[in-house]
């Protein structure tokens, strides 16, 4: 599970000769990313209300067919329509991604913000705990969780979520550290504002930018992670189509028909690319030096 980002909140350089191409490129990242993700979200929403066939409808008379009028993207080894499964899978993929990153965002931000704001011993202890999480291989975590409960969407989300907490904690902490010494915070404190409120209303907003960027980048990683976990058999159950699932099942039939493997594989690349570009674009947008 590689980290598809440039590294946490490393801002691009300012001061290099501003050329038209840079401004265009900045927009290109954002819009292309938004477009890619938009299509996936649209597909997922569509899949909620309609698909050409029920995604799990088995039809042994139509196994492993290439794209045709009846099946625009072809069929898999059970004769199930790949387009329908793709639409349904978009939902699974987004769902796992959002929840996992959501968990990480909330938990990580909490930990990191408190650590950064309070500082001192609290900071040390919290960050050491975070380091432990960082040192723990997420796949092993997923395996252990899968064995304790059962392999499935929940365990995949939990594992990916827990493994991503350290990154958010670090970003939140960095963001908080950057703003907490600034003048307006000092002023608010002098005016008698409570520490909690201070943290929430004045310091946190400074960290929001990098967090949003990180969220987008982590979503890219989460999609890849879900695929990897499903490939190992630890992701969504067999009756819930997800792209990782589809890839896993398609392996054995590669020689008979490439489509069951190509379709979800390309969808994964599309989505991961979308999130990465979106994240990069947001970073360019939110970086005060280039805005």
């Amino acid at each position: 599970m590689s980290d598809a980002s440039d590294g946490p909140a490393v801002a691009p350089a300012a001061g290099a000769p501003r050329r038209r191409t840079r401004r265009v490129r900045r927009r290109y990242n954002l819009w292309l990313g938004a477009f890619l993700i938009g299509t996936i979200v649209a597909g997922a929403l569509l899949g909620l209300v309609w698909s050409p066939y029920p995604p799990n409808a088995i039809d042994f008379s139509a196994q492993l067919q290439p794209p045709s009028a009846a099946h625009p993207l072809g069929t898999d080894h059970f004769g199930r329509d790949l387009l329908s499964r793709l639409l349904f899978g978009a939902r699974s993929t987004l769902y796992v991604g959002f929840i996992a990153v959501g968990i990480a965002l909330v938990a990580g931000t909490l930990l990191g913000a408190v650590a950064g704001f309070v500082g001192g011993a609290v900071d040390e202890v919290v960050m050491r705990l975070v380091d432990v999480l960082y040192a723990f291989p997420a796949i092993l975590m997923a395996l252990l969780l899968a064995a304790v409960y059962k392999p499935g969407t929940l365990t995949a989300m939990a594992a990916i979520g827990i493994a991503t907490v350290p990154i958010f904690a670090r970003v939140a902490r960095a963001g908080v550290l950057a703003t907490k010494e600034s003048d307006f915070v000092e002023a608010a404190r002098a005016l008698g504002m409570g520490e909690g409120r201070l943290l929430w209303r004045h310091v946190m907003p400074g960290a929001v930018g990098p967090l949003v960027v990180q969220a987008s980048l982590s979503l890219a990683v989460a999609v890849l992670a879900e695929a990897a976990l499903s490939f190992l058999g630890l992701g969504t159950p067999p009756d819930v189509p997800s792209w990782g699932n589809m890839l896993r099942e398609a392996q054995g039939f590669l020689a008979m028909s490439p489509y069951p493997a190509l379709v979800p594989g390309l969808a994964i690349v599309w989505t991961v690319l979308g999130w990465s570009l979106l994240g990069d674009g947001l970073r360019d947008l939110l970086d005060p030096r280039t805005a």
Partner: protein, 502 residues
């Protein structure tokens, strides 16, 4: 590239025919050579009497370890370390004459002492020996002289000889039972030369083997490749020479179409069984179980999902077992009847149920997925989940905590499990135990068979489980490999008579 399942089957039939013709002219055995065979998993240890994992006998049965008698490739029980045997009039004493001049791999001689130690341990339920129920009738084992052993039974047992041929009954040198797990020593054609965990097992020819001229091969390697696709890719790339376990139907197709490889299809003793928890609602109602059986189109599963590779069955028996009886018509595919029965039982709108699939087994998982769809057609809503093996063993198999699950029961002649109400099916019918005892006491094999078939009929009628199919035994090998078993009367990748010749 318009391939449909139908085209596959036509091609399959044609190619099998061609393969059959070619096989009729096998070349003469050639001495020497090395063979690399893929296996799917490594068991915890290599002693078949310490663990019931089927992976163990695949590697060591007859190749390394042997018992008094053994199965030949057709399933006949033939002499191994015993050359002949008699039974007393009352059936309570079995006398075995042991083969002379047999050596173990560690150089020691094989004699009655080894037999006595082995079977005394086997018959002792506290010893940790597997399947002590197979030896339950043995009261004591006595060495009459170094080449003669007498088994004293507490009651006549028609199944004793069969059980003595099983992998559990292989004989180790006296005093070495504890090290068999890591360093199995036996009397077989190959020595267990090396085991690198996670990688492979190496066997080497045993020069003092008692069968003249055997084995043909100098050495063999069992390579552990757990991923089905990696395994197959290795065969196609030429890295390994043979796959004789867990070959998937779609891979078999490709083998037949590949001029460098050949494939054989034979029979095995694995019943892919969809187990129903007979003690849990609503499955405790026979009508519901009947309905489930009627709702499943076994033929569609075999033809569609498994490309025609498998035999539909109707009870806990495989065609390869010599007591087989075909009961597939007990409750044939009839979705309307299924809905009727469900309504009668009080579930006109069906019900929800959990169906748990074991992670390591692709055929079972695939079958389960199709079944879930078929059950949905009659209103039974199935919640599928995949369970990791250790958890499956602990919670479902040992704990009996499940609604429905599916697994291949590959142990041959294991219909006796239905007599045990605490077996994970939770099926409680005292008549089965009675029939089993009658079978044991039977004086002729025909009588015993009749009893077993009666049991088969009862459990089919009671719809205890849904026995979907008997999985075929598929082997894929390079063209120059000959002599391997094409059937599996017992799990064994037997290399004793394998050779390589152009």
């Amino acid at each position: 590239m318009r391939k449909t399942a139908k085209a596959f089957k036509v091609a399959l039939a044609a190619l099998l025919l061609a393969a059959g013709v070619a096989a009729a002219q096998d070349p003469e055995p050639v001495s020497g050579g090395h063979v690399v065979v893929a296996i799917t998993a490594e068991p915890p240890g290599w002693d078949p009497s310490a663990s019931t994992s089927q992976e163990i006998p695949r590697v060591v049965y007859d190749n390394v370890l042997q018992g008094l008698v053994r199965f030949d490739r057709t399933g006949e029980i033939v002499p191994a370390l015993a050359t002949s045997w008699e039974t007393s009039e009352d059936g309570l004493t079995w006398t075995f004459h042991l083969r002379e001049g047999v050596r173990f791999h560690d150089g020691s001689d094989f004699d009655a002492e080894d037999v006595v130690e082995k079977f005394t341990r086997a018959a002792d339920p506290e010893s940790g020996h597997t399947n002590s129920q197979y030896y339950e009738a043995i009261e004591s084992v006595e060495a009459i002289d170094p080449l003669t052993v007498a088994f004293h039974l507490s009651r006549p047992s028609s199944s004793l000889l069969y059980n003595l041929a099983r992998p559990d009954s292989v004989i180790n040198p006296a005093g070495k039972a504890d090290t068999q797990r890591t360093q199995p020593i036996g009397t077989g054609a190959f020595r267990f030369a090396e085991y690198v965990p996670g990688s492979h097992v190496r066997l080497e020819r045993f020069e003092d083997y008692w069968e003249e001229g055997l084995p043909y091969l100098d050495s063999a390697e069992f390579r552990i490749i757990s991923d089905a696709n990696a395994r197959f890719a290795a065969l196609q790339a030429g890295d390994i020479d043979m796959i004789a376990v867990a070959l998937l139907p779609e891979q078999f197709q490709q083998v037949l179409a590949n001029p460098d490889l050949k494939g054989t299809q034979g029979s095995a003793t694995a019943e892919i069984t969809m187990a129903l928890n007979n003690a849990r609602e609503p499955l405790n109602d026979k009508r519901v179980r009947q309905a489930i059986t009627h709702a499943i189109d076994k033929n569609a599963i075999v033809q569609g999902a498994l490309f025609g590779l498998g035999t539909v069955i109707g009870t806990h028996m495989s065609p390869a077992e010599n007591y087989y009886i075909d009961l597939t018509d007990t409750y044939p595919y009839d979705p309307e009847r299924a809905k009727q029965l469900l309504a009668e039982a009080g579930y006109p709108n069906g019900f929800r149920v959990r169906f748990e699939l074991p992670e390591p087994y692709a055929i079972e998982r695939r079958t389960g997925e199709v079944i879930a769809q078929q059950l949905a057609q009659v209103g039974i809503e199935v919640e599928l989940s995949v369970v990791e093996w250790a958890t499956w063993l602990e919670r479902i198999f040992l704990g009996g905590d499940y609604d429905m699950t599916i697994i291949g029961h590959s142990e041959p002649r294991d219909i006796n499990v239905y007599a045990n109400p605490s077996y994970y099916y939770h099926y409680d019918n005292p008549r089965i135990a009675e029939l089993l005892a009658e079978a044991e006491a039977a004086r002729t094999q025909e009588e015993a068979t009749a009893k077993y078939q009666e049991i088969a009929r009862i459990i089919a009628e009671d719809a205890v489980n849904v026995w979907v199919l008997s999985a075929p035994y598929l082997v894929a090998a390079k063209q120059d490999v000959y002599g391997f078993w094409t059937d599996q009367p017992t799990p064994s990748i037997n290399l004793v008579r394998v050779y390589r010749a152009r």
